[in-house]
């Protein structure tokens, strides 16, 4: 599903050039659950942003579902994001002015889904995430675990083919963290491809395999945990 070849990303400030990604290559098959690990600053998040079409590489190619998307327009990226990709962040990133249900509904609005269908889908996914009773609350009224469940609900509400999770348990205690990992595993078992960036060896065990990065380079791959 994802084909990454010789990917490079360079950050430039006035005086210093930093290679965030250096000749990174790996593939992710449809239905796989892949964890990307490595120390802080190794380029994990940069890689995830490129996969999520939020950032562009400076070299190499990136193929998404058979299409070369290395250098497509911003409009096309937005299109691909909203139809195929769901995001889960460490800091949840819910919109504070919107209720739980409204936050989950948002991707459907941008997709142009009709109101009745939106309502149904939101209800279904909230029930699935066991957060239905909190549907009219605002994010700041929820616990961290609940917030992350809402974020996962939002990521999956339009049934994307790929979920990108950036340290999804980083801000959670262990029991809440486990719950979220169980959720992701369930989604993966239902057929969704998942790429997750994590620091946690514990979380990485949920994945089918681990890609380890160091200083912008892949140092180990295909390690089954």
């Amino acid at each position: 599903m994802l084909q990454i070849n010789h990917l490079e990303k360079i950050y430039r400030t006035e005086e210093v050039q930093t290679k965030a990604l250096n000749n990174v290559s790996f593939t992710v098959q449809e239905g796989e659950f892949v964890a990307i690990m490595g120390p802080s600053g190794c380029g994990k998040s940069t890689l995830l942003n490129i996969i999520g079409l939020l950032d562009e590489p400076d070299g190499g190619t990136f193929t998404f579902a058979g299409t070369d998307v290395t250098h497509v327009t911003e409009r096309r990226r937005a299109e691909l994001r909203k139809t195929h990709i769901g995001f889960v962040f460490q800091s949840f990133n819910l919109i504070e002015e919107l209720t739980v249900a409204e936050n989950v509904e948002l991707p459907l609005i941008y997709l142009g889904v009709g109101a009745t269908e939106r309502k149904e889908k939101v209800q279904r996914v909230l029930e699935k995430m066991q957060i239905m009773h909190r549907r009219n609350h605002f994010p700041q009224q929820l616990s961290g675990g609940q917030q992350q469940r809402v974020a996962v609900a939002r990521a999956v509400v339009n049934s994307p083919r790929l979920i990108l999770a950036d340290e999804p348990t980083g801000n959670l205690d262990s029991s809440n963290g486990n719950e979220v990992m169980e959720l992701l595993t369930e989604l993966n078992e239902a057929g969704t491809t998942i790429v997750m960036v994590t620091h946690s060896e514990h979380d990485a065990r949920y994945a089918h395999r681990v890609v380890r990065l160091l200083d912008g380079q892949v140092v180990l791959e295909n390690v089954r945990v």
């Binding site: 998040s45 942003n49 999520g52 939020l54 950032d55 911003e74 409009r75 937005a78 299109e79 994001r81 909203k82 139809t83 995001f87 962040f89 800091s91 990133n93 819910l94 919109i95 504070e96 002015e97 919107l98 409204e102 509904e105 948002l106 991707p107 609005i109 941008y110 997709l111 939002r154």
Partner: protein
């Protein structure tokens, strides 16, 4: 989608109450000022627009070619109407109104007697030119004959109640007239004030006068036939005067002016400098100035919005990142932010509409207008508000929307607080806008100070005579006019009366002009001179100062027919040397006497008075001559003692009743006449204060908001500085410096502009203050002080906060 936008917008408004308040209050205040000014300007522009065929109606005025600066006179010779009607085929109709000055006439019906001003004496073609709506009667033939009158509705109601008075009799002074019609009320947007109109034929003016090109006593109107070109008519009229009229006139009577045809729609606003004009005048300069101020205030309010929205964008960045990650396009986000601004503007517009309805009565009271702000009955107004909402919302919201919607999710989602780097590029814009806001404020403050100074000068300048406590009224009734000497003597006996004078030509009242013949270098030359027809007590009553010679004296019998007193300007302009040298010189004056037009009064200059201002300070002092001429006496000035004015006035009233029991007394005080002259300036002054205050307040609201965000942004820096040993004052200075520099830049920009604008305004006054330099200094300091106070509140708050808390920001 829109519902989602509005929902977020609404919750955002509630969440950031301070921000919302600043924006909404600023915009609402700005819009209120704009709406009020807009209503005023609209009302001024509506003058005479209701007159049918108004685009074909013109007023004849002349511009003097002999004066130093061109001087426009609204009253012209009666011959213009005659000539235009007879010689110009494109003229459909002409009409003249006799200039009578602001005189009161006693109207009487049955037992009811009321003094009424603003009566017109007009050609019977009046309603052919101005097709005014009638309540009773018909315009056809309403001014035919010599004994008809058309009344204004209010006057008719005063005398006859609510019944139709057509056919009933009315006395004007002692002449009986018949009511032929009643005009509908609501003529407040007509340039002529009408209480009643009587036909010109009733005045029975001698034919010799009506065919005189030198007697400039009429307001003259022309209606051209459809399709006629007014420029051609005007050119033809000028040619006619040079070719056909001038050759027939004697050397002394030659015309010294050029005629113009002024469109009816310009009479109200474009005649503010006209002399001998009694129409209801506006002033296009003031209308334009107010329009500009309204624009300024709205601009300041819009800038607030742009500034606060971009400053606050750090808080919205995360939301933008999330929405983009989920798949929102930049257009969708722009639309979202624009709809937020429009919503916010809508709230402000609604508030402004409420404020406007509440404040309009105050403005109406102040301007004497009857403006209405009735949204339900005026769909156009509602439409205008809708357009205003959209335009202000889009203008103010466009740039912030562009900035916000262009954020990159990768950059804004990562850190909890977005660093200032991304926002650096909007910093220059924010600073630029603050500079513009403060430049506008400083500009307005300087203008307000200069106008204040000039207006005080107008009111308080030493006019060369003592204008305080002088009671002033015209004589009425045959008995009083005949026995004016006895009347005056009895007035002087009243306790509390210091002196009394009877004459024609008192300061602040109408004065006559005529030629004075002065021998110069062996030749006799006639100079246009103000004629002050006085008695032996005039100089004493007004407290004029003699700089040479003596006052008129009753003991010297020659003073009555052979003595003149000049003012200093006359001595100078006639080339008579020093005041002392002028004494004893002979001058001549063609006596106002219909029986023998050639008779001359010959006499010697017996005195010279120090110049005194008998007209408004708009007018340069002119040569003036004082002489004893009882034939023209009709006004009385009574100087009262400062103490117990009330009983002195009572005493004067009693003497009046003795001499003229049939007429009630109508008096005023001389200084009121002068104060009245500067009413427009007084109003301008008040309006400037109010709107300058609004502009500064709205600007400060924005500055306060920005200072809040600046303090927020630099919290960590402040914490670190404090830990390193900075004290409160150095941190306040640090935070305030950023804004104070902007105020200084603003002042540097505003000063020359204010100087230019105010120099031009002052040019209109013949007597004016020097540009007050202190106004600039004080305006700059005031703006700086207001800015400092606004900013320092936030600065002190930030500086006194616990540094440890501040450093935990990141």
């Amino acid at each position: 989608m829109l519902k989602n936008y509005l929902l977020v917008a609404y919750r955002n408004l509630l969440r950031h109450k301070g921000f919302s308040f600043i924006n909404i209050a600023g915009l609402a205040l700005g819009l209120t000022a704009c709406l009020l000014i807009g209503l005023f300007v609209h009302d001024e522009l509506q003058f005479d627009q209701f007159v049918p065929d108004g685009s074909r109606i013109y007023r004849v005025y002349t511009q003097q070619t002999t004066t130093e600066t061109p001087e426009s006179h609204a009253s012209v010779s009666p011959m213009f109407a005659t000539t235009l009607k007879q010689e110009f085929p494109e003229v459909e109709q002409t009409m003249r109104i006799l200039m009578t000055g602001a005189s009161l006439n006693l109207l009487q019906a049955g037992e009811k007697k009321i003094y009424v001003e603003d009566g017109l004496i007009a050609d019977s073609t009046f309603f052919g030119i101005f097709q005014l709506p009638f309540k009773y009667g018909s315009p056809t033939g309403a001014l035919d004959g010599t004994s008809s009158v058309v009344l204004a509705e209010e006057v008719a109601r005063n005398f006859f109640g609510d019944v139709n008075p057509v056919g009933k009799e009315l006395k004007i002074n002692s002449t009986t007239v018949v009511v032929k019609g009643v005009l509908q009320s609501g003529l407040d947007k007509f340039h002529l004030k009408i209480n009643y109109i009587i036909p010109l034929a009733a005045a029975q003016l001698p034919q010799q006068r009506m065919s005189n090109w030198g007697w400039q006593q009429f307001y003259t109107y022309v209606k051209l036939k459809p399709g006629a070109d007014v420029r051609q008519t005007q050119a033809k009229l000028r040619d006619y005067l040079t070719q056909k009229v001038q050759p027939t006139l004697s050397e002394n009577d030659k015309l010294t002016s050029v005629p113009y045809l002024q469109p009816l729609h310009e009479v109200h606003l474009y005649s503010s400098s006209f002399k001998y004009d009694s129409s209801v005048k506006g002033n296009i300069t003031y209308v334009k100035a107010l329009g500009v101020i309204a624009g300024f205030i709205l601009l300041i309010a819009c800038f607030n919005f742009v500034n606060l929205a971009t400053a606050k964008s750090m808080q919205r960045a995360k939301e933008v990142g999330i929405r983009k990650t989920i798949g929102a396009s930049q257009q969708q986000l722009m639309l979202q932010f624009l709809s937020e601004t429009v919503l916010l503007t809508l709230v402000s517009v609604v508030l402004a509409a409420v404020l406007t309805s509440l404040l309009l009565p105050v403005l109406n009271d102040f301007t004497g207008k009857k403006m209405a702000f009735d949204l339900l009955r005026n769909p156009a107004l509602l439409g205008l508000l809708a357009v205003l909402t959209l335009v202000v919302g889009l203008v103010a919201g466009f740039y912030p929307a562009l900035v916000l919607s262009s954020f990159q999710p990768v950059k804004v989602l990562k850190s909890a607080v977005v660093t200032d780097g991304i926002f650096g590029r909007v910093q220059w814009l924010r600073h630029g806008l603050i500079v513009v806001q403060f430049a506008l404020s400083v500009f307005l403050i300087v203008c307000a100070f200069v106008v204040f100074q000039q207006v005080s000068y107008l009111h308080n300048k030493d006019l060369g005579f003592n204008r305080d406590q002088i009671m002033f009224f015209p004589m009425r009734g045959e008995n009083m006019n005949k026995q004016y000497e006895t009347f005056k003597n009895e007035l002087r006996q009243v306790p509390g009366v210091v002196a009394a004078s009877i004459g024609y030509g008192f300061p602040g009242d109408q004065v006559a002009g005529d030629g004075l013949i002065v021998p110069t270098n062996g030749e006799k030359k006639e100079y246009p001179t103000t004629q002050l027809m006085v008695d032996y007590d005039y100089i004493k009553t007004l407290g004029l100062q003699l700089v040479a010679g003596r006052d008129f004296s009753k003991e010297l019998t020659t003073d009555k027919d052979h003595a003149f007193i000049l003012n200093e300007t006359a001595v100078r302009e006639f080339g008579l040397g020093t005041p002392q040298q002028a004494l004893g010189k002979t001058v001549q004056w063609p006596v106002w006497n219909d029986k023998n037009p050639d008779s001359l009064k010959v006499g010697k200059i017996i005195g010279v008075v120090k110049d005194f201002h008998y007209k408004s300070l708009y007018d340069r002092l002119e040569p003036a001559v004082l002489q004893i001429f009882p034939g023209a006496y009709w006004k009385v000035a009574v100087k009262l003692k400062g103490t117990d004015v009330g009983s002195a006035v009572e005493g004067v009233k009693q003497v009046w009743t003795k001499f003229s029991p049939e007429n009630p007394i109508e008096y005023r005080f001389l200084d009121d006449n002068f104060d009245e002259m500067y009413k427009a300036e007084d109003k301008l002054k008040s309006l400037l204060w109010v709107f300058t205050g609004v502009a500064i307040f709205v600007g400060c609201l924005g500055l306060f908001g920005l200072a809040t965000y600046a303090a927020e942004r630099r919290k960590k820096e402040i914490g670190i500085r404090k830990v390193l040993g900075a004290d409160v004052s150095s941190i306040v200075a640090l935070l305030s410096k950023e804004f104070m520099v902007l105020v200084v830049v603003a002042a540097v920009i505003a000063f020359p502009l204010a100087w230019l604008a105010m120099s031009r305004w002052l040019q209109d006054f013949a007597y004016r203050i020097d540009m007050p330099l202190w106004a600039f200094g004080v305006a700059g300091l005031l703006a700086a002080a207001v800015a400092f106070l606004t900013v320092s509140y936030q600065a002190i708050k930030a500086a006194t906060a616990n540094p440890i808390n501040n450093m935990r920001v990141n």
